[in-house]
Subunit: 405 residues, 4 copies
């Protein structure tokens, strides 16, 4: 656990390394947070749920950090306005690094002590590490969004050559379905969030799942066929969102010299035709699937289909920071499912503020599966459910087609 | 079919009878439409999908009615702005009655002719009747919303004495669940909307369903216990909606002389403590259930539980226009389920504009079951799914509790 | 005074004569009110400020009418929401006509009685008549706005042939200015609103005023020259309003068969090239003037220039309901001045609710002069100031150019 | 001129000295800009209007700075979105300092060269210096607004003891008025903005002007008397703004331990009762004046009254950064007048982008006079007009009462 803690905390530092104090102030919309805030919030999580209740004599560097760096845990006290996180110039970055160091020391001290509650501490540290990994993904995607508002189009990491692109035909694999089991078994000691369980039975009709994600080449065909201007392809709320926001392409794309370009953490790049399409909303993914004569998979289908597939692919650890051609089920882009994020039968969140982690988001969001190029690989598992609102686009969001078999 | 058509059309006329031309102009929000528009739109539906394509020589009284009275059928042509329906002073009410008469005559002529396509016509007339029944419910609830903005609190129908109210303790009935079937079998000749099928298997864990809906007495206990001010009882989006709209009671309630009053189609009335709570959003229903240590049922649980229960109760035909104490599964109030409105496995909407009826609404809405005091009883069946957005309140929306068994 | 009262009340009846009860419900935006409301509000004004305090035993038909039909007189009690006036289906139109009749009888009774306060009553009746005349203009222009949302483009009065149009070159008349007097002398027994006085001295530099209003022909030249797309012609707030509302022509215009058409109370008509341009905001008028190398006049210049010019022209009484070619300073269109609506030196509103008539609007509005085709001529005088916000367009608003001499 | 240039540029550096790079990113609303942007924009002004057209071979460090650092000069090319200035993390602060140094060198080079256009250059440099002084005031007030969103309430400069406060009774000085002259004479070689001229005649009735600004003590009396809840004291638009924003005190005030506190650039401080009230909108100032049985002065009255009064007081140079008790006409707080910002007779802006400086703002704003504790004193003169929208509060805005004599 100490190794995981060290590894996790080091990953945050490494992600922040190329950034200036000013970069780490960027907050370009309410959904996104400054990098500095992510560094502090993940630290507060360890402090609030482990050090304060369990490390005798622990004092926060500033009692008001709890106000500034709590995100949405109502039971942990009042919270600064979410859309004003970009206005916290003080504490400065140095103070946040010092805060991190102090909390790192506290956790180290706790874990080294011979204590009765080491198991509980280890469980909480593990939760804190997974929590921080989620924020590492957010740090990366929020930063991309923030930098995208700068007409200078600054690169986070040095530009990379365009990978070799090769068209890969679309094929489907049939699955028989039947009464299958999905979800995380609470008795399984491996880590999982509360919302991944309980393990339960679901009846699946036979289905087929595409062998690759939808690519940019596919997406351009949809655009060229008037996909964004054809209301019958869309859900009603989806087309309203499309018109209100004047969507006619994925987020971050523009047209230049008869070619599609996109803004990435590696700077401006021509769109890679055979990389997975990314930065598309649920509404767009759903319309694309209808246009393609297919549909999105359910999350049960996805989870059933991934059973036994090795969790390897283009994750954050590859430091590509962009989807690449040729991947499989895992990595590159999160894949929208048609499943709203709802509780599994028998779901019951834990008591206390920790119980606010997932349950209160179970409305108006859709589940995605598979992880992305911004996800630390050690965060991934078959039962993992992430979720976003159907209009959101700034994460590494893509799709894979399914069909009734 | 002719009898159903006559009965349906007559019901609309009867519902409109107590209204002045001015009452029938009321549009109090985009979700609601004027009574005159409902009368015209349901007529346009028969004209557009039956008379125009099938009755040789048929001419609309005014070609522009298609623009005014199409609701959302993109494939049937352009549509007037939904939020401007209350600004259509012309055609006047007399012209709309004449429009209805002309279409009635046309449908009668069609059904009496010896034609090869009588089966298809009958199916479309049946769909049109069910469509009109849905709008009868909307006419009633939209009218209530419209009248509620008038400080004179005018009654639609004469006030009625307060029914005898008797407290009824809460009890639950256990259901074993297992692999059950729900939904409408496409081979079944009885009418159902596309979204009610196909019939399919669902695995249910054992559950228990309350024997009565949540009552106003229950709801006041929730209010008195601070339910509206306790964020931990609420979904995150729900509490945000609650705060933004300053909800602290059901829609239409106010406090007067130390008692709760409510506005109904029978005028202002003291809240009937043992009648089902009504005009509560999904967000409120969900929070109430959490407060009560229970949950909302899924729609599969509801449909499974109602199997074989006679469809009787306080429906529109009783002309009560308000929920009453003592009812069963059916009638009084629609009951929120925890199930988002999603397609059943294998769902495929019909071709053409008719296919826009349900499928394009399958996002951001929740299913309700059971019908209400504003629903014509002949519209009801076990597989019937209605659906609303989780913030909406103006329909006859209530709830029934469920539990894991 | 009795004659003026009878004439004024009769004019309202005549204006309403062509309207159905449904037409009289139309409220198409918060700035506009239903015709029925105008009829009731002007009646309430007589009731509230004359009958209630002065006619012994007077009883309103319904005490709640004060709530429904007060507009903005805070000191006269609470008021129904301004943007919900279109939702008052009851009292119905017949009840409003009965209300008017009762108040007419009350005023007649008061004026016939031999009373000590007849002078005060006469002054209040005169104020009430002028108030009702203002609402007659609003009734007409609000109705035009309401009907314009109906795709059927219904005419209020039968269409009229397009008047003979003849181009009239632009010329200017020089005025020497100097220390001049404007405003209404409080000692003058003729009626004027409080804001028209006191009479006071203003120093004017020499100036020149155009001999005719800006015409539609002029306006089309401005449009064709890119006037709506050239930010340097506009005030900053004006161009922002122009872009936000996508203005590129006057209100109610559209393009049809290579010609400009407009919606009027006489139905759809081709734009009359030599009639005064109408339905343009202050922002547009100001930009036009800058484009034309001129400016708008100040209200002091306008008032000084109109001295001695007979108040004749195309007013409401002509029942044209649209500007016509060939007019002079008075009638056809209100003319924007560059003067914000501010108090004259020494202005002090009367005590009580009547004092809310004008003073509280003295911010963010601009003065217009000259009256329009919707203004009763007996309402006009040299000192008359009307005022609107710079973005508003739905009144009969036009302009006349001025220059430094 | 070189001395003024050096002094002005040095003042900006000094103002920025206590700030971190993160502080200089703060943009808390669209009206405010980050300190870094102010430093760069004022530099761009010299570059764009002097160096680019006049210094042969001059190259900007980055051609895209023109896009980033132009504010609203349409004729100088496209501009980055005003509300996104806080998202420009790059160029970093060091790059902006280097930009300033390069432009300083360029201006020095220009001014030292023996050139024919030295007079024009000097005039432009003077304009640029005055422009930068305006932005120095904005830098200070925008920073205060930005820091106020931080719950830590960080001080810009070290806290100062509360100055001795002594109540000063309100007295008025009478002025006879008559036909007076105001405004800047274009023939006068001293610097003034275009909108300050031409000098022209205005007729003033006799009036009286208060001998001191309204103080916090006065303001609390207004609050305690229900001033914020009494609509009859307010302009209609003003009370609507008051209700919409829930105003019940000046900006930055809060209640603590039975005392009013306020946030200042010196940190949190108890409200100084005898210092001028500050951070009040025009709407509030107008309501206060009506409550006090007085009115706001016109700008002509103010300018006439200040003739010959030495321009001394609590300006930016005192480095107090807050109003202090005991001041006179000049300094401490800008004083709202009742005069909308309109062109003087004969006003004509210069050709080209420079002409956009003032003229396009002449709508919807009110003039203030006298300068504030955030204004460099060398910017002040009798004819100086600043202007803000009537709802704005974040500048150092106060008031002084006037009366008809």
């Amino acid at each position: 656990m100490a190794a995981r803690f060290a590894r996790t905390r080091a990953r945050s530092r490494a992600l922040a390394a190329p950034l200036t104090p000013e970069d780490m102030m960027l907050q370009s919309m309410e959904d996104a947070s400054p990098a500095k805030w992510h560094l502090a919030h993940t630290t507060w999580f360890f402090e609030e749920f482990i050090l304060k209740p369990r490390l005798p004599g622990y004092r926060s560097p500033d009692d008001r950090f709890a106000l500034l760096f709590n995100s949405y845990y109502v039971q942990a006290g009042p919270r600064h306005a979410r859309d004003k996180r970009g206005l916290i110039s003080r504490p400065g970055l140095d103070d946040v690094w010092a805060y991190r160091a102090q909390v790192d020391d506290g956790i180290a001290a706790l874990m080294q002590a011979g204590r009765d509650d080491l198991d509980q501490i280890a469980a909480l540290v593990e939760l804190g590490c997974h929590h921080e990994m989620q924020h590492q993904e957010l740090l990366v995607t929020d930063l991309l969004h923030g930098l995208s508002h700068n007409p200078l189009l600054p690169a986070y990491r040095d530009p990379a050559p365009k990978p070799v692109s090769q068209e890969r035909p679309l094929s489907f694999t049939r699955h028989d379905g039947g009464l299958v089991e999905i979800g995380h078994d609470p008795g399984d000691p491996a880590f999982a969030y509360d919302c991944e369980g309980p393990r339960h039975r679901v009846f699946l009709e036979p289905f087929a799942l595409a062998d690759r994600p939808v690519t940019n080449r596919d997406w351009i065909a949809f655009m060229d066929d008037g996909g964004y201007r054809t209301p019958t392809l869309w859900l009603m709320d989806g087309f309203a969102a499309c018109e209100a926001a004047s969507w006619d392409r994925p987020l971050y794309w523009w047209r230049q010299d008869d070619e599609w370009w996109t803004f990435t953490l590696r700077g401006a790049q021509p769109v890679n035709l055979d990389a997975p399409a990314v930065h598309v909303s649920y509404y767009e993914a759903d319309a694309f699937a209808r246009w393609a004569g297919a549909r999105l998979p359910t999350e049960a289908e996805w989870e059933h289909a991934c059973a036994g597939v090795a969790i390897e692919g283009n994750f954050l650890d590859a430091r590509e920071f962009r989807p690449l051609p040729g991947g499989g089920l895992w990595g590159d882009v999160w894949e929208w499912t048609q499943s709203p994020f709802t509780p599994y039968p028998g779901f019951r969140p834990p008591e206390g503020a920790i119980g606010e982690y997932n349950g209160k988001f179970m409305v108006n969001q859709f589940v995605l599966r598979g992880g992305s190029c911004a996800t630390p690989v050690e965060q991934m598992r078959e039962s993992y459910r992430t979720f976003f609102h159907p209009h959101q686009r700034w994460q590494m969001l893509g799709l894979r087609l399914a069909r009734d078999a």
